[in-house]
Symmetry: C2
């Protein structure tokens, strides 16, 4: 399984992904699911993938191959993030055209979803969610984040604290707490965690760090968040109407 979340705020973009890949619980490996396409001063793009590893690797392989074809549109020469999303969607469709039927013969679902975020000179930062059919949606003022993979455990905290005004540091903190909730509930989501920050108008990757399980900051907020939740729960009044009804 996988958990990735991308958040678009006024100050930029934050993207986090776990690195656990499994084919059954006895076949677990670490693959980074976050790829970077960058031309400092001109564009900073990051792509996170979830789904069948052979499909996601095929799509990424194709997108990287395209970078050497100077006559074609690719992630390092398109003029807009919308065109970048189209490139990724087209790559998904090409892989589907090549592998879809063969996978179907083995009853393997064509399972792939992606979050694409970044900024190209001349635009503001943009964030897209790309589906297995190669279609996509874009984040807006109202919906400023996308999740892929094991999304539910980590969704409530994002809904409660993230909006377009959230600072980048807070968005990273929220993403790590969201990741922690997911890791606690799904054994197949696991550190290390890739964290990428793209600041508005910097046109370069502002930060790309790999957070290991024993990272002191991650360890600290995991522990304190758990303690705070426990404390907040204790401080809520217990129901006094249960006895009455007895």
């Amino acid at each position: 399984m996988t958990y990735c979340v991308g958040m678009l705020v006024d100050a930029g973009i934050v993207m986090l992904s776990d690195t656990r890949t499994n084919a059954g619980v006895d076949n677990i490996a670490t693959f980074h699911k976050l790829s970077i396409f960058e031309k400092p001063g001109e564009r900073a793009i990051a792509l996170m993938v979830a789904g069948n590893l052979s499909i996601t690797q095929s799509v990424l392989g194709l997108l990287r191959e395209q970078l050497h074809e100077h006559d074609e549109k690719h992630l390092l020469n398109v003029d807009t993030m919308l065109d970048a999303a189209r490139c990724v969607g087209d790559a998904v469709r090409q892989i589907h055209a090549r592998d879809g039927k063969a996978l179907e013969d083995f009853k393997i679902e064509f399972n792939v979803s992606m979050v694409l975020g970044g900024q190209i000179k001349g635009e503001t930062p943009r964030l897209f969610n790309i589906y297995p059919a190669g279609n996509f949606i874009e984040a807006s003022e109202d919906t400023c984040y996308f999740q892929i993979g094991e999304t539910k455990y980590g969704k409530p905290i994002i809904d409660r604290v993230i909006n377009r005004k959230t600072h980048l540091e807070r968005a990273v903190k929220c993403g790590l707490i969201s990741m922690d909730s997911t890791i606690r509930s799904n054994l197949t989501v696991s550190p290390p965690i890739d964290v990428v920050v793209i600041r508005t108008d910097e046109l370069r990757i502002g930060s790309h760090q790999v957070i290991e399980d024993e990272n002191p900051y991650f360890h600290h907020i995991r522990t304190r968040w758990g303690d705070s939740l426990g404390q907040a729960f204790l401080e809520l009044p217990d129901p006094d109407w249960i006895q009455k009804a007895g």
Copy 2:
């Protein structure tokens, strides 16, 4: 959709269920998903159901019919909760034998799951999770709760605060917070919420209340829980390592 949770603690059993049923977003109705089978002084049993409404109603209808057949085992005459779970599992299998093929012809999944909890004189309280095949598992010291329906959003808080030593009032509070997280994230889960408490060795339903949206206690803990999470989030240190990597 549905969300139900049953918790077994030393002090007894707490069961909560929402009441929203839908067949597409334009066809939404309220059906209680929690049924009680009680002989005060001898047994107190509650059953929560999730899945296809026609299937869950058929199973419940059969279980209620059986109560009038004096030669047969049913929920009001079996000697143990294990036999009660077998009764429910057998009822699921009977409905599957009658309706399974016809539903399959219309590509309708035989979707039903149940949480059965209670105490029969001579035993301690017991809690079971019953599957569509009529098989079931029982709660233990390690796993003392079961969820059915839309389970993921409300799972993290239960994992953090519930164990066998938890007081019944706290278990109710936790169940309501878990329900709130689910309601916020899934529009098809909704109040009123059925809440049943069975106290160990009382051998009757200790409390059965229907919590409406505007219930003052539910409103209070929903609001304060949200505020507390926001405050706890703010109080966690922001990452200071993002700037460094810029």
